[in-house]
């Protein structure tokens, strides 16, 4: 069904077709022709650069001179780099607060929209539109105005006599505005939830309501377990996506990650090191740290899923 489902299924059924190995390889020649562009891309654009950046992580390289092997210098530097640590903290807060909020809203609205209500298509479109626009520069521009000192939010607050702060220029609230922007794009997980909710057999609800179960009880004992694989799927995807957020923080903070590094996402710091200062060796090391972190988070998600994800088959 989903990419994640495919991956876990691949893992659980090793060597499924070993006995018919001769039949299995009958299309070798044609297949490699069809796969040629993808294979070239995989080697030249993806895997090759991955190994290259692993190598660069252990070098000092500024693009002008050849890379100089520096051993673990970059790693030691990462351990001592307070700005990097801060950027990790900022990114973790963004992911750990933003993603659960986004998914909760997505599920909540999907539940309201479920099952043949009037105007469903229109509502769905309205909720989905922000996810398509959310990563664009234009929306970041809008956000910059809305949460500015005399922006839309403060104009509304002024109507009820509250003098709002400059949300984006205040280090305490700047990250919050970006989290809100992420929550605003709840439409795409919502559509996945909608599809999942339709898969839950109606008879479960009928049977339980005849037995006198309340709506809340039904949600806890039927809905949540039945859609838990999809919650998991959305969680993994949104976490991976959120770790890589870049554009909004870049535009809202004018590329600086400010005020006082409060919106300095990990990716933004990487960009500054690599493409601002052309410190390519260090930037590569940071990029690998990102891979390790995203990989660790995904692994934790997979391990924890054993305890709360329920598979019907």
């Amino acid at each position: 069904m989903s990419a994640l489902g495919e991956l876990s299924r691949l893992k659980t059924s090793p060597g499924r077709g070993k006995t018919k190995i001769k039949i299995k390889h009958k299309d070798n020649k044609a297949a490699y022709w069809f796969l040629l562009p993808w294979l070239v891309g995989l080697v030249a654009i993806t895997i090759g650069p991955m190994f290259m950046s692993l190598y660069l992580s252990f070098t000092d390289y500024n693009l002008l001179q050849a890379p100089v092997w520096s051993g673990f210098e970059n790693i030691v530097r990462m351990m001592e780099d307070a700005r990097l640590h801060n950027s990790l903290k900022v990114t973790f807060i963004y992911v750990l607060v933003g993603v659960p909020l986004q998914l909760a809203l997505a599920l909540g609205v999907a539940m309201l929209l479920d099952r043949g209500m009037r105007g469903l298509a229109i509502y769905r479109s309205i909720f989905y539109l922000p996810s398509l626009l959310g990563s664009s520069v234009a929306i970041a521009v809008l956000w910059k105005q809305i949460f500015g000192t005399s922006g839309l939010v403060n104009q509304f607050l002024a109507m009820v006599g509250i003098q709002g702060p400059g949300w984006i220029s205040d280090p305490n609230t700047a990250l919050g505005t970006l989290i809100l922007l992420n929550v605003w794009t709840f439409g795409s997980p919502m559509i996945i939830f909608l599809a999942a909710l339709r898969q839950v057999p109606v008879m479960y609800y009928e049977a339980s309501s005849i037995d006198g179960a309340s709506k809340f009880r039904q949600f806890i004992t039927i809905t949540l377990p039945m859609i838990s694989p999809i919650i998991f799927f959305n969680l993994v995807l949104q976490v991976i996506g959120a770790f890589q957020s870049f554009t909004q923080a870049f535009i809202v903070s004018g590329g600086k990650g400010g005020p006082s590094d409060s919106t300095m996402f990990f990716t933004l710091y990487l960009y500054q090191q690599g493409f601002g200062r052309f410190d390519m060796g260090y930037a590569s090391a940071i990029a690998w740290l990102l891979v390790v972190i995203v990989g660790a988070f995904t692994a934790i998600n997979f391990l924890a899923s054993k305890y709360w994800v329920f598979y019907d088959d």
């Binding site: 495919e6 691949l10 299995k24 070239v40 309205i126 234009a138 105005q145 770790f243």
Partner: protein, 331 residues
Amino acid sequence: MTEQIKSPVTDDRKAATGTDEEFELIAAQAALDEERLPREQRNRLRALRRRERKAKWSVARSLLKHLMIIAVAAVMIYPLLWMVVSSLRPTDVIFREPGLFLQTFQWENYAEGWTALSHPFGHFMLNSAIVVLGSIIGNLVSCSMAAYAFARLEFRFKGLFFAIMLMTIMLPIHVIIVPQYIMFSQLGWVNTFLPLIVPKLLATDAFFIFLMVQFIRGIPRDIDEAARIDGAGHPRIFLQVILPLMVPALATTTIFTFIWTWSDFFSSLIYLTDPDMFTVPVALRAFVDATSESNWGALFAMSIVTLLPVFIAFVLGQKFLVKGIATTGMK
């Protein structure tokens, strides 16, 4: 005769009034019986009654539900509407008018924004259009070929390759961007559109391969078998049988590629530094940097201009977008 004709009518009436009485009777009987029923059944009966009572409230409840949804939708969509309206206002009004009411249409913001940078905005839109077109063609050709192999052919390392392909969907682009930049800059491709288009020609957007694999798996194999019996090889089966049948998946790919490439900021920021080559997102960013608080009207106007193609793609391609997300689960 008249008696005979009338009597069924009165009988009917009797029956009609009778049903009420009968119903009451049955209900009373049921209430009595209920005491004698085993507890489980009694609960069921009560639940059914409760549902009947609830039906009366269902209209009110659905109304409430709609109100809640509309409230959420209004909060979400308000900033967008306000941006559209504000793009038609003088800048000083933008900073004191939170409402949507527009007294006069002022198109100057658009005229001013269009020519605010070193090139007219149309120049950047054309650049973006070239990149988008190249990316769409690249994704359509390379991803559909790979998808055909994964969905229909049997070959060595298929399982391994498929797993690698799925994992590359989740790989952060940042881990490869530094060496990629080094490679493309050594090829002399910085400040050309090649770094943005060539990867698509090499099927690096693996997400679309997966989407197409899913789609091809849904096409009955009998169709290819029939073509094979007629003597068609794989290239012909792919071109003349599978491709025409997978038009919906190709449409989904086209629309997503369009929207994502049009909005893609990161790659353009890294590879395009010459204003002559700017795509829309980096041009807009340059505009943000160039304007101080004074020119928000023009900035809003150009923001709307950059969002408009995405919005149009969304309206035209909604069906494919929703289907694409629901089956593969991506933004």
